[in-house]
Symmetry: C2
Subunit: 486 residues, 2 copies
């Protein structure tokens, strides 16, 4: 199998003695994809991130074997021109495509596309995507029937580039973030929006987490490219048929259960148990504007205002991984988070009660400990492709905790029956849902918690991998091709 | 015919001698609806706006006859509770519904719905809509077959209220602003979004300016209410069939030609001719964030940067009607407009050349004079239900001027072939389009100008009125009702 994603599963630095020091790749996608490696012979194509990665890329142009969570993959790193990569990553992928697909723009003033964006697109995004396409096509040349799965919003043009170089490639692209309706995609310059959709349609299969994102993509195919839909899952475009699929990504229950019993998590849990009060609301997020932390704090304030009887009894523990602090909008959003927490504490706190406990650090062990301890897990994103927190928490929670979940999270499709649903913009409704979640009768809490666990276990990460490969096999079978997994 | 709209065609003050002083009703809708009055006996139900209006409403609860542009209508004013009206108008209709339908939110932070909004909805928007429904139902009681046309985003709940009181009413609602996709409508609290769509579906006919807005509405019916579409124009909901229609509103070519020859316009035109340079770009707007004035100035700056040969030869004349200066976002947007103009002038201007001439006042005669004089009419809204400027300008322009038009304006559907289309967020493309528009060969300018005039003349305001009534007649005929116009 050939996997291409911007981030590698492992990146390297050097110790003071010059020896290679591996770091687990950051980002939610890497975590999800590591599961892939277990089952098959995998070549993983990714961008070199660190200077050491770039050295390794030059020393091993065909890649080198890496141990990954017990499996092994050949990791082939691409050492892009640093200027091109900076344009690709810092001027197109994160501040523009991510914002567009999560509908985070303030349209009266932002975005405003001009020559800088055109340059970043042409000299950054296109260039990096061509490098991926070249590398993938080289791999396909030696294994023409290998399934190729490209990932996420960094690589929208790569499928077209692969198709040009290797017309028979068995090509899937999976989009891990929300796909917005045509009105929102058309915020991008017209040729950019069209080439994104056209690039994806060079695949045989385009995958999304939910039917909602898949259907929005289908609407974009029709509106931007005048493609035709045949049912909900086949697009006719430029003489080809492309299959669309909705396959929810998940977590590995076994891995998470093991993690929950590990020494670091148990130590964090001991600390949390020692500190916690009667009722604990937990949120686990990155400090990303799409995660809606500020409105979450406002909702908690409103809860305390409406229910003075909760004073001193409930705490909101927010464990936030600092995110993209090189992007000004993220710096501003982190400041807004900090001031919203301070405001709630100033208004309601006392000498022996801190209503909002805000911890901004990267500490997954502590997050898992908090999953075990929550009475309510609060997940209210503005938009979110999936949101794995809403799946991880219920698997290891020990208190029959409730989940309050935004209906704009992809996870809502699977978990909607068992959670308390909220509109992410409706702070009043969120306050009420937190109250309901804290006060549900024990029987209903237990039955919801068990429904949640069952829903997550029913769709483990292996179902995502297997489903995607089955869909790809079916997609290529329509013109007589077959994928072969070695 | 029974018309209901928030604003009356005429509002009153009192002179120093206590005599009634009429003022032409403000707002684009009033202008469009005045055309209605010519052809039929019309009862116009509207909110009392001024204190004098409120006196008149109390003195004449059944309304009083008003002369309107040569016709006459019975105008029935509703004197709402001032607190309820303030909530309805200043806390729901303008800052929330308008923003939602034009997709103007900055979703990471706004809106944030809490108890204040719930109160404004329940005690303002609902209350005013109930008052309209009561008044309409009273009128329908004496003329059960009269066509009723309710207008715009202020009155989304009124159709349901009318239907409850007068089940057989022949009821159309026309929406004059864009209808957004479900993702955008679902920003509103869930029960509010649902009751808006459900309210409209109590009509027999729901009208929009373009198929794009109509189709977005249909998608909302399906997604929010689980209604079923039968083709593109019939919704099945709650045991009824409701017809949807796309009917572009327009202007009266005759009235505009007469206006263009009036003394005030000729005087303004003389002044413009005396002041103007070689090339004149004109924009005519309200100072509304949806109108995209700031990006327009940025595009003009970029034009001057890319084409230094235009220095001293071209001016952008921006005639802006000050809008909603009681809403903070509008105050901020006006300041942003002023500073963008100042910046362009500081950067490019000279002692004898002011690149951007910004005039913020309500002066329609001057706008019509500018229509006659433009070389390029620049209309780049973020979103716009129709945009009548793009139709008015070409009718009276004397210089074979080009129109640069946002493809998010409803008018683009009819005029797209003859204009230079732009993405409102793509400042680089707008700069290029302005340059193209200024430098097209005379033959192409003339043929585009004549295409534009033909497109506008082909769909005059009478076609909108007639079409809407024909659609309503057809909609009610499905269950054997007939409309009667006296």
């Amino acid at each position: 199998m050939i996997v291409a994603a911007n981030r590698p599963p492992v990146t390297y630095g050097r110790g003071s003695d010059g020896a290679l020091v591996p770091h687990r790749g950051a980002g939610g996608l890497v975590t999800a994809l590591r599961g892939l490696v277990a089952g098959a012979e995998v070549t993983w194509i990714a961008s070199a991130i660190s200077d050491t990665d770039r050295e390794l890329a030059r020393a091993h142009p065909a890649g080198r074997a890496e141990d990954i969570d017990g499996g092994s993959a050949r990791v082939r790193l691409l050492a892009h021109d640093p200027g091109a990569y900076a344009q690709f990553y810092g001027h197109v992928s994160n501040p523009v495509i991510w914002f567009t697909q999560h509908q985070l723009w303030n349209l009266p003033s932002e975005p405003s596309f001009g020559p800088d964006f055109v340059a970043a697109w042409d000299n950054g995004y296109r260039v990096v995507n061509e490098a991926f396409a070249t590398a993938v096509a080289e791999e396909v040349a030696s294994r023409p029937a290998a399934p190729v799965v490209l990932h996420d919003y960094h690589l929208y043009l790569a499928p077209r580039g692969v198709r040009q170089r290797a017309p028979g490639a068995c090509l899937a692209h999976f989009v891990h973030i929300p796909w917005p309706p045509p009105d929102a995609l058309r915020v991008l310059p017209a040729d950019v929006a069209r080439s994104i959709v056209d690039g994806l349609l060079a695949s045989d299969l385009v995958g999304f987490h939910t039917p909602r994102w898949r259907d929005n993509f289908a609407a974009c195919c029709v509106e931007l490219l005048a493609a035709r839909m045949v049912g909900a899952e086949v697009v006719r475009h430029a003489g080809r048929e492309i299959r669309l699929t909705a396959r929810p990504i998940s977590v590995s229950p076994d891995d998470l259960h093991a993690m929950a019993q590990s020494a670091p998590v148990l130590a964090e849990e001991d600390a949390l148990v020692a500190e916690r009060g009667e009722l604990l609301i937990v949120r686990v997020d990155r400090t990303d504007p799409s995660k809606n932390v500020v409105r979450g704090f406002l909702a908690f304030e409103l809860l305390l205002e409406r229910h003075p009887e909760l004073a001193g009894r409930v705490q909101l523990l927010a464990l936030l991984d600092p995110s993209r602090q090189d992007v000004p909008a993220y710096v501003a959003y982190r400041a807004a988070i900090e001031s919203a927490a301070a405001r709630a504490n100033a208004r309601f706190g006392s000498a022996d009660w801190m209503p909002v406990r805000l911890e901004i650090e990267d500490n997954f062990a502590r997050s898992v400990a908090a999953y075990k301890q929550y009475d309510v897990l609060f997940v209210n994103p503005v938009f979110d492709g999936m949101n794995l927190v809403a799946k991880e928490g219920p698997l290891v929670n020990t208190r029959a905790g409730c989940v309050v979940l935004s209906d704009n999270a992809g996870a809502h499709t699977e978990l909607g029956e068992a959670v308390l649903s909220v509109n992410p913009f409706d702070v009043g409704q969120q306050a009420d849902a937190l109250y309901d979640a804290l006060t549900l009768p024990p029987g209903e809490r237990a039955s919801r918690a068990s429904l949640l666990r069952a829903a997550v276990v029913a769709q483990p990460i292996s179902a995502w991998t297997d489903g995607l490969l089955a869909d790809l096999a079916e997609a290529v079978a329509s013109d007589g091709r077959r994928i072969e997994i070695s």
